[in-house]
Amino acid sequence: MLVLTRKAGESIVIGSDIRVTVLEMQGRQIRIGIEAPSDVSVHRGEVYERIREENELAANADQQQLKSLSQAFKSR
């Protein structure tokens, strides 16, 4: 991992079209601004991880479980 030290107002440029700027620091929190092309996805790390974990749990869908669910759903 590349580690850089930055002050408020300073930025980091990634490639030719992504800029990450440290906006302000307040206690234990840091506000960060990100400028990136619209086809680059930017997410909070922990939310992205939750989605990825749930996808992995769901990714091996089973036909029998699906049929049972459909029956249970229709008769609820």
Partner: protein, 152 residues
């Protein structure tokens, strides 16, 4: 396109066996799905005895297949806040082009089946390009019980 020109694609899935899908029901996820970024082509398959759920099966990886659902059938008020840039990235300009599904996490026990409302799958129904959105919207989580919710 006339009926005679409708083409189908047949592929194999480990859990569903041989599957044939209308080429108009092929989806492209240009970025894949989180955790499965390499796999971009999926077939959307609707079978009567599995309704209202649909299969979303990878054409690239036989062991990769999801079950999805139109969340409005269970949560009529589902109205996720999806970023304009995300919709523009899919080429969606009007709401008629947008279809939204959520991924279902199955279980042997129907009461344990959940829907992921935090990561809805958005489809441009004109181009069949799709993307799983990662919502900032705190109202929705990755696990919402299906059978425990009120009937839609």
């Amino acid at each position: 396109m006339s009926e005679a020109e409708v083409q189908t694609v047949t592929f194999h899935n480990a859990k569903f066996g041989e599957v044939t899908v209308d080429s108009r029901d092929l989806l492209e996820f240009p970025y894949g799905l989180p955790g499965f970024e390499r796999f971009k082509q999926y077939g959307l398959i609707e079978v009567e005895e599995e309704a209202p759920f649909l299969r979303l099966l990878s054409l690239d990886e036989p062991r990769l297949g999801f079950v999805i659902l139109n969340p409005v059938l269970i949560w009529p008020d589902y109205n996720p806040d999806i970023g304009r840039e995300d919709l523009e990235g899919l080429g969606i300009e009007k709401v008629e082009q947008l279809a939204i599904y959520c991924i279902i996490t199955l279980s042997d026990i129907p009461q344990n089946v959940t829907a992921n409302l935090r990561g809805p799958i958005c489809i441009n129904t004109d181009t069949m390009k799709a993307k799983q959105m990662i919502l900032v919207d705190e109202r929705y989580q990755t696990k919402h019980s299906i059978m425990g919710s009120q009937a839609g």
